[in-house]
Symmetry: C2
Subunit: 271 residues, 2 copies
């Protein structure tokens, strides 16, 4: 199983994702909001690029069956029910509803990745272990797709990808010696030596260089992921807007055991 | 002073490097070989893209004044004096000579960066501190340009860039409180908290996200950079070719106090 990492949406070559499992990370805040909404019982999330697309789609749905959510410049879109803070997507608000979510980086990255991989898992710190387990069960080569910030490498998305890599390595190591149920390691930073990752059924877990770098980020920040969000450009921008509660929320590891899946234009838990 | 990092030669936009200090890293092995040759007294290194260019240039130079060096597929080019192992570029062989060096990734990255920045420093683990000091003295925004491996992110180049970032942060912190001569920190991994980097003359040291990630790589691998070379795809390839001595050599930090500078097609210590 080969683990590659695509640093920004701009770097996605859809054909390179054929026959791979793809995971999209846009953890501040689209990925985190999507995971939260679905974990809290929303029926489906439909990501759209433009505000106009969101309103047009809403007109086609029966009243009271949908929630309009999303931001521009990290601020709620006028006329929408919700912004892009995962804290707004409570069970009371979203249960049974369709969430129409407009984000830019994450939606673009997800669509491009889906054009090659068919379906795309939505990853965040909130569901690191669930994503890693799904990837292992699916047993295909993996592409970890980071949305990036304004076309550039983003620290927080790469950290989340690295946390999935770290979990995959733990699971892979454990699979060789003990049942998966016991595989979870204590939540401490523990350096992984790549040459100690064992062979399994004649196959190795191969990390491309960018995946190794992400793994090292996970080792650096694993004990305190919030630190990475504070070290990141986008995190600093959200802090300036007074959104420190969002950062604290999005920094939680394994809050949910859900894997949102994007397929055919919508995100659900069981496509 | 803003520190950015460009992950591969493909990501270079020359215009974005105007008025910046640019450093090129291709540490396995071009950057390391160039630093070694110049530290060992070679007069200049002329990097060329193609083998034919190297032979054509050699014909124009007086006999015994030049050395033809370089590789294809990590193997010495037939008819050349030397390959691309820095261990071959001893004082006895290169002193006073012009080295005509053909490499692919590094030469391409250097030329592209120079098209924007005018001149380009050549960075490696071998001259981390010298490069950091030069950048600080020059006092421009910095672009750390990693050559990458076959168009992809390379762990070893990013580590070297991160070691320069770490040194810059130390120097910057020290500059505020004590003379530069005392600035060098003990060679231990010591986590840097970005909000502890002090303001200086009304200006801050700003690390873009990719530079922060590189800094974290430096913290992970700083006590044992050779580990990163073994974890990297290109390092593994060189190991398969029996070149473990080259890896060990290239992993040495601050072996030389030299900063090779590329300008107008050639690399020297004092352009």
């Amino acid at each position: 199983m080969i683990i590659s990492l695509i640093p920004t949406a701009q770097d996605i070559i859809p054909e390179s994702l054929n026959n791979k499992s793809a995971v999209m990370f846009d953890i501040l805040r689209a990925s985190s909001t999507i995971s939260t909404a679905l974990a809290n019982g929303c029926q489906q999330v439909i990501p759209v690029l433009e505000v106009a697309d969101a309103f047009a789609l809403a007109k086609k749905l029966p009243e009271n069956t949908y929630i309009l959510g999303g931001e521009r410049g990290a601020i709620k879109v006028p006329g929408f029910h919700l912004g892009n803070s995962p804290l707004e997507y409570t069970s009371q608000v979203v249960r049974g509803k369709t969430v129409i979510l407009t984000t830019t980086n994450g939606t673009k990255a997800t669509r491009l990745a889906a054009a090659g991989a068919g379906e795309v898992f939505i990853g965040s710190l909130l569901n690191t272990s669930a994503v890693a387990n799904r990837l292992l069960a699916r047993n295909r080569d993996v592409a970890l797709v980071c949305a990036g910030t304004r076309g550039k490498f983003s620290l927080e998305d790469t950290l989340a990808a690295g946390m999935v890599v770290r979990e995959l390595v733990y699971l892979w190591q454990a699979k060789g010696t003990k049942p998966l149920a016991d595989a979870k390691q204590p939540a401490v930073t523990q350096e992984i030596y790549l040459d100690e990752v064992p062979l399994l059924e004649g196959e190795n877990l191969v990390l491309e260089d960018a995946a190794v770098a992400a793994l090292r980020l996970a080792e650096c920040y694993g004990a305190n992921p919030l630190r990475a969000l504070y070290d990141s450009l986008h995190g600093q921008k959200l802090l300036q807007l007074g959104l420190e509660d969002d950062l604290a929320y999005c920094s939680q590891v394994d809050l949910f055991d859900v894997v949102p899946v994007y397929r055919d234009g919508k995100i659900t838990l069981n496509p």
